[in-house]
């Protein structure tokens, strides 16, 4: 897949040549976020993938992010998009986070190839664009995966039925996450001594179906993939996880009534492994749209169950987050947000599945786009 990156960069370079009649558009987004937990009990994980955690000392690091996007017309029907991103959790190191080609030369079809976020949850594809949603973050206890991106291809077909817009997108890709940050963090948390962990998701194949009406926007997703993991131990040996298949299903969206917006997402993840693990998760949020103020409440619940339960408990990992806050729109391109979150860890205590711990967190954010 690094070849795709090289091809993309080469095409971008070509489109930048003075002889080419390329038009390049620059856009960007960012969030400056400061937060802290109010209790001394446990850290609050605001970003699972990059292990962005708040402690009882105020910090900008867990969630602050800046991104610059360049879109270049390679030809009349093909464009290249690249997104540079820098995050506080990565010590503000800049990386080319997204890069993909879009081809729209066939009527009603759009083809994309390159690196993007996996369209898992409703907010997955734009989870870092704070300005695009009411809260400071999409509920973190749902967006908890160690893999969020992949190198792949997408084919979208758009059609209308009456007043309803329909888009079906099929996608396929792979992700080889070398030295996965989240997996290493949890290895250490459980007393492990691994030097690094590679998390591998292959043959990620599935589809999205988006249905858009005048006042609603709904999305159904289904995909499956193979899971694999290699742990590099401190003594130089490696441990291979027993591979298994994973299935992801979701139904989410938003309904825009005049003064009220309702946002929701329901998901189910199934592991085809020896304990037949399932993760049912859901979120619901209500936003009240006043002129410049948008107060909101948000609740998210994540559970872990096993059809073949060796521990004899039906509560392995289990937690909810209840949040309340307000978004104040400074202008049509900047918003100030304040949010309070109560996180309760309901995991099984006897078997050590309450390892997140309870927390209360307050955070303030300035989100902007340009």
């Amino acid at each position: 897949m690094k070849y795709i990156k090289l091809i993309c960069l080469a095409l971008l370079g070509m489109s930048l040549l003075p002889t080419a009649s390329a038009e390049i558009r620059f856009n960007g987004f960012g969030s400056v976020v400061m937060g802290q937990t109010l209790t001394h009990q446990a850290p609050f994980t605001a970003d699972f993938y990059d292990v962005g955690q708040y402690s009882d000392k105020p910090s900008f690091k867990p969630e602050t992010v800046f991104a610059l996007q360049a879109t270049a017309d390679v030809s009349a029907d093909m464009k290249f998009t690249g997104q540079y991103l820098t995050k506080g959790t990565d010590e503000f190191e800049t990386e080319l986070d997204w890069y993909y080609l879009t081809y729209s030369g066939v009527e009603d079809w759009t083809f994309m190839a390159g690196r993007r976020n996996i369209p898992m949850y409703y907010y997955s594809e734009f989870s870092e664009v704070g300005f695009a949603y009411p809260w400071i973050r999409p509920p973190a206890n749902l967006y908890w995966w160690q893999i969020t991106q992949f190198n792949g291809v997408h084919a979208s077909y758009e059609f209308e039925i009456g007043d309803l817009g329909n888009t079906i997108t099929a996608f396929y890709g792979n992700e080889y996450s070398i030295n996965n940050k989240e997996m290493l963090f949890y290895d250490r948390l459980f007393g492990g001594t691994a030097t690094s962990i590679d998390e591998v998701w292959t043959d990620i194949i599935g589809f999205n179906y988006a249905l858009v009406g005048e006042i609603f926007d709904l999305r159904f997703v289904y995909f499956q993939n193979d899971r694999n993991r290699t742990t590099y131990n401190a003594d130089g040996t490696t441990t291979e996880m027993v591979p298994f298949d994973q299935t992801f299903m979701g139904f989410g969206g938003n309904i825009n009534l005049d003064m009220i917006t309702i946002l929701f997402d329901m998901n189910l993840v199934i592991y085809d492994n020896d304990v037949e693990l399932e993760y049912p998760t859901w979120l619901v949020s209500v936003v009240y749209n006043m002129d410049k103020y948008q107060p909101f409440v948000v609740y998210s619940q994540a559970d872990e169950t096993h059809d073949n339960d060796p521990l004899g408990t039906n509560r392995w990992e289990q937690h909810f987050t209840a949040g309340v806050g307000v978004r104040y729109n400074l202008s049509s391109s900047a918003a100030l947000k304040v949010q309070y979150d109560y996180f309760e860890d309901q995991g099984d205590v006897d078997n050590g599945y309450n390892y997140h711990g309870d927390s209360e967190t307050i955070a303030v954010a300035l989100d902007f786009i340009f």
Binding site: Q69, F126, V129, A132, D163, D258, N329, S332
Partner: protein, 136 residues
Amino acid sequence: MVILGMILTSLLIMPSAFAEVAVIVNPANVSDINEKMIKKIFLGKQKKFPNGQVVIPLNSQEGTASRDSFNKNIIGRSATQISSHWARLVFTGKGTQPQDLASDAEIIKTVSSNQGAISYVDAASVTGNVKVIAKF
């Protein structure tokens, strides 16, 4: 006298504050376009007219009376809600925000020379080079 003057002045100001806005398309566009469709086009939810022509939505610059009125009466959302919606599409590669044009004259010129263009202007600015499909 002062009060009378103020009343007269306010009466003179009122019509411009509630100036009528006209939604315009290219004269060659024969599609039947209703308000719902206009809303969907400007939110990136509809990319073609019923006749198959690809839409080119054009906005008046931010802060103009016609844009504020269009947002309120046709889109039914605040400027921030609209830009949040577009942020989602732009940063996932699923849409390109309508271009902003500087003046009614520029909008009329662009609409008259692009078959798929759709925009809105102060009704008083309309010329014979464009077709009015709605007024509010």
